[in-house]
């Protein structure tokens, strides 16, 4: 009986393994949808161009609008990697 159960589990494992590998036989790594527009360092912005406006939340969940700042003062906008 034990052997039977063991074989049964083994078969089950094989089936799931096959199913998984069947999904991605040597499939290329998934590329995020956002990437085609912006590959590595492919900015189209340049000095003199208008900086795209944005509204993003800060740590308190408050939306911060870039143009609210630039209307009043020059802005140093820093993009950093984050906690990676």
């Amino acid at each position: 009986m034990k052997v039977f159960v063991f074989l049964f589990i083994l078969t089950l494992l094989c089936v799931t393994a096959n199913a998984q590998s069947g999904q991605s036989p040597l499939a290329p790594p998934k590329v995020p949808a956002a990437s085609p527009a912006a590959s590595v360092s492919g900015t189209s912005l340049k000095v003199g161009a208008k900086a795209p406006d944005f509204a993003l939340p800060n740590g308190d969940g408050k939306l911060v609008v870039l143009s609210d700042y630039t209307q009043r003062t020059p802005v140093v906008l820093i993009f950093y990697r984050g906690f990676w």
Binding site: L45, G48, P52, P57, Y69, T73, F79
Partner: protein, 106 residues
């Protein structure tokens, strides 16, 4: 960066930092660094895509470390898009560029 914030203010500008971190990270970042400037979350990466600075090769897309200095018209007066974390201008360079922008009649 946080300790140089006063220098940025004195140079006549405001500092805004953006990453693709969750808001909670932005919050803890603000707490741990004692930052008094805005630290914003671009979780869906829309803004870094708009700026064309998505580093798709890493972690499913994070920002290339970049600096933009904008004038009061919202125009880019200085920019640097870094290839890696080491590739970024020093605070002194940024401050110098900021002073130029702040001094310019606009």
């Amino acid at each position: 960066m946080a300790e140089d914030y006063d220098k940025f203010k004195q140079a006549g500008g405001e500092l805004i930092a953006v990453s693709v971190d969750e808001q909670s990270y932005a919050w803890s970042m603000a707490q741990t660094t004692g930052a008094r400037f805005q630290i914003l979350s671009d979780v869906d990466k829309k803004t870094i895509a708009q700026y064309g600075i998505v580093n798709a090769a890493e972690h499913g897309g994070i920002a290339h470390p970049s600096v933009f200095i904008l004038d009061k018209q919202g125009l880019i007066r200085y920019m640097h898009v870094g290839k890696d974390p080491q590739d970024r201008p020093t605070d002194e360079v940024i401050l110098e560029e900021l002073r130029k922008v702040a001094a310019a009649k606009s």
